[in-house]
Amino acid sequence: MSNEISKFSDPGLPEHIHRKSDSDPMAEKRAEQQVAILFLISALGTVLTIASYIFIKQGTFVYLPILGDVEASQLFLGLGLTISLIFIGFGAVQWARRLMPDTEVIAERHEFRSEEIDRKEFVETIKERAATAGLGRRSLIKRSLGLALGLIGLTPLVMLRDLGPLPKKALNETSWKSGTRLVTDPGNRPIRPEDLEVGSVAQVLPELPEGTERTLENIGTDAVLLIRLRPTEFNLDAKRLSWTHNGIIAFSKICSHMGCAVALYEQQTKHLLCPCHQSTFDVTRAAKVIFGPAARPLPQLAISVDSQGYLVATQGFTEPIGPSFWERSS
């Protein structure tokens, strides 16, 4: 553009304005005292920290407005630490602002690009050095070195193999089998249908064989929600209806999206909601997804009662529970 030449000219650095403390010895003295006071407050802060550590018992509470009851030991330790740190900072900054030279200095910059001759000589050096090693000619060495280095990269990959077992069928399995009793969690007691009122919800787990310890891995695959509705409220096909018992329906509690526990049940609408990503499932329609990112309904567990009147599973889950994975077939 043509106006390039007539740009406003650079007036250069504005003239330096001196501070009061630069010329007035009284002001300088005052600034010095200020800085010293700030550092001394910091020292007091450390005294407060040490005193709080020694003298305030853990578990004593003090009431503070807004914050409510606060644990005194950690509050005063923290305040002491705050004072001791922050006033060193204030002192140093004040020192720099009031007493250290505040004239701006100019330093030159230089282009990073090397001189043409240096660049040329660099290329020549590389070429010459490479030639002495025969890098250009010895392709056999180069290729075999490439192969060796490439293969060595496999070692850490191979060595990490023992991080864990292969998944095999584990993601498809739960502890539920035909005839497994439903037991309360917590409590581990078998339940009868009459234990559940209409409108209520309960978390249950499969009864494990005598002597088996329940692990978190078990809970992570086996957790089931029982919900009792009026049988007329269901909107299910014949097969799924036969999986319910007297209005009691059972779903895997592990979200089909990302595996969180689907814990929020809204009695009015009969919706189950996952608190992680708000996938919403309609209980009356076999946990069909009606909102949110989940792509599949929660797997339904077929239930009935055994000869003693306790709720049991009539078969295991017919599909893998929890989030999707590559090997999952539906």
Binding site: N3, V105, E111, C276, P293, W326
Partner: protein
């Protein structure tokens, strides 16, 4: 010679005779650093990192990174005799039975939040002022790497206590791993040593959290700072400041005192937050078990945008040939963040390609003078803000009496509509600000003083700007769009094809600006007025 001087001299002599450091130090102790509040953002990152190392080391002395089951018998009565993992129990121990333990935990967590927030603010400063341009592209890449690792490090950190909230976060991370096509379930089983949650994940991420990642951080931060040192800091435009110089204060003593003092201030503020502001009260959540969850499960803010993306994803899965691909996880969990971060990393190179600019830049841009870049930055922020809102949709819904569904649909549509609108609006605002600059340079500042002339006319007195101010407002370069030849020397039309056309279009959009006023224009106006 005083005694202290003699001792100092002996030490200096000892070191110099062995390293020759005197020459280097002599030069660098007077190194000039420009001063501006926005240059302190990067300092906050560094200082909060140091605070993290110190407070984190303290915590490791008592923390037991193990998923071995123990029965709690510490002094927090509500969880007495509850079965839990050793890592949760030891976190309770630090919080209630180690003096200053809770304070250090809270300082550590606050410092992590400050570290992330400061990195994001620092990144924005670098972006909007164009500090990433040649020769600083490498430092931009390191910065993008640090932010990315910071997110991972933060997530691993708050996962360590193995409480109900963080365990839920780990479960979600496992689901993302598991969703990766072909190798997903293998990766998940290797990471967790078998089925989720297993017994090895916490000890493993502990090593990563306290050793591997801090080591990488330390290395990257060192290179980052060495480059800043070697390439010298950028500076804002102004009188006396050029591409060929750097104006500021010498390292010793002013900059040392200010930067050193600022470290203590940042530490002090973090300690204050740790003392009075409760954060991550894990004892309220209880130990992790996969069958339970707390309502309103929220990650820390730097993960919140990811969670928001996951929440708004469409419920899409592909089932074909006996295999499943979960788009509802892959899209928000890996693909979109991957595109965002790759785009961010490549931005300096894309902009340089569009402008064809191969020169070094040490003078920063005022954001208004780079409307296109500023608009792209604002657009990206708008995107992140919309998904962040969705990440907190449950909390927002309960606080403001809205429905989750309403917020979800607002953000699902908003994610496509709002960022482009923000782009257009920001670009217009930048151009208007340029026009306003032009206005006050040519016509002076409105003083609000009305004067009646002898013949009855009222005028408002305009005050002319100082030469310094005029220079600052007009010094920026005038962008020129790249000329793309329509035909080359042999008569071939549009020799660079679609790529050339695209580049020309983008270059044109990038060069849009209000011409800066020139001295001659000002003179011409002056002649007209008086």
């Amino acid at each position: 010679m005083k005694k202290s001087e003699k001792i100092a001299g002996n030490v200096a002599n000892y070191v110099d005779e062995r390293t020759g450091a005197a020459k280097w130090l002599k030069k660098n102790l007077t190194k000039v650093f420009p001063d501006h509040w926005s240059f302190m953002l990067g300092e906050i990152c560094l200082y909060s990192f140091i605070i993290l190392l110190l407070s984190g080391t303290f915590l490791t002395f008592w923390f037991d990174p193990s998923q071995r089951e123990v029965i709690y018998n510490g002094s927090y009565a509500p969880l007495s005799h509850v079965t839990m993992s050793a890592s949760y129990a030891s976190t309770l121990h630090i919080s209630f039975d180690v003096r200053g333990g809770l304070l250090m935990r809270q300082i550590h967590h606050w410092a992590a939040l400050i570290f992330m927030a400061a990195m994001i603010a620092h990144l924005m400063r670098i972006f909007f002022t164009g500090a990433f341009r040649k020769p600083r592209e490498a430092n931009w890449l390191i910065g993008v790497g640090l932010v990315t690792l910071g997110i991972v490090e933060g997530f691993l950190g708050y996962s360590l206590p193995d409480d109900l909230l963080s365990g839920t976060g780990i479960r979600i991370a496992e689901a993302i791993l598991q969703a990766i096509p072909v190798v997903g379930s293998y990766l998940a089983f290797f990471a967790f040593g078998g089925q989720f949650p297993g017994h090895v994940f916490i000890p493993r991420i502990y090593t990563v959290h306290v050793l591997l990642l801090p080591g990488i951080f330390l290395a990257l931060i060192t290179i980052h700072l060495m480059l800043v040192w070697y390439q010298k800091h950028t500076q804002y435009p102004g009188p006396g400041r050029t591409e060929k110089n750097v104006v500021g204060y010498p390292l010793m003593p002013v900059y040392m005192a200010k930067a050193g003092g600022f470290f203590f201030i940042v530490f002090g503020v973090t300690a204050f937050l740790g003392a009075v502001a409760s954060i991550n009260p894990i004892w309220l959540y209880g130990p992790y078990t996969p069958g339970q969850i707390s309502a309103g499960s929220q990650p820390d803010f730097y993960m919140g945008w990811l969670d928001g993306l996951v929440r708004m994803a469409p419920p899409l899965e592909t089932h074909a040939f006996g295999h499943t691909i979960s788009w509802n996880i892959l899209l928000p969990g890996l693909i979109v963040p991957g595109i965002l971060f790759t785009g961010m990393a490549l931005y300096p190179f894309i902009e340089a390609w569009i402008t064809g600019d191969k020169r070094e830049h040490h003078l920063l841009d005022r954001p208004r003078n780079a409307p296109n870049r500023t608009a792209i930055g604002a657009m990206s922020l708008a995107f992140i803000l919309v998904v962040l809102i969705n990440g907190g949709n449950d909390i927002i819904a309960t606080h403001f009496h809205l429905t989750i569904n309403g917020i979800m649909w607002f953000t699902r549509i908003g994610i496509f509509v709002i960022p482009p609108l923000v782009f257009v609006a920001t670009k217009r605002i930048c151009l208007s600000l340029q026009r306003a600059d032009r206005e006050i340079v040519l016509h002076g500042r409105e003083t609000g003083r009305l004067v009646m002339l002898p013949h009855g006319e009222f005028i408002e007195v305009h005050e002319e700007l100082s030469p310094e101010k005029k220079f600052t407002l007009t010094q920026h370069e005038q962008n020129l769009p790249l000329a793309v030849p329509n035909t080359d020397s042999l008569g071939v039309r549009n020799p660079q094809g679609i790529k050339g056309k695209l580049r020309a279009r983008m270059s044109q959009a990038n060069a849009e600006q209000v011409p800066a006023p020139s001295e001659s224009e000002a003179k011409a106006l002056e002649g007209g007025h008086h």
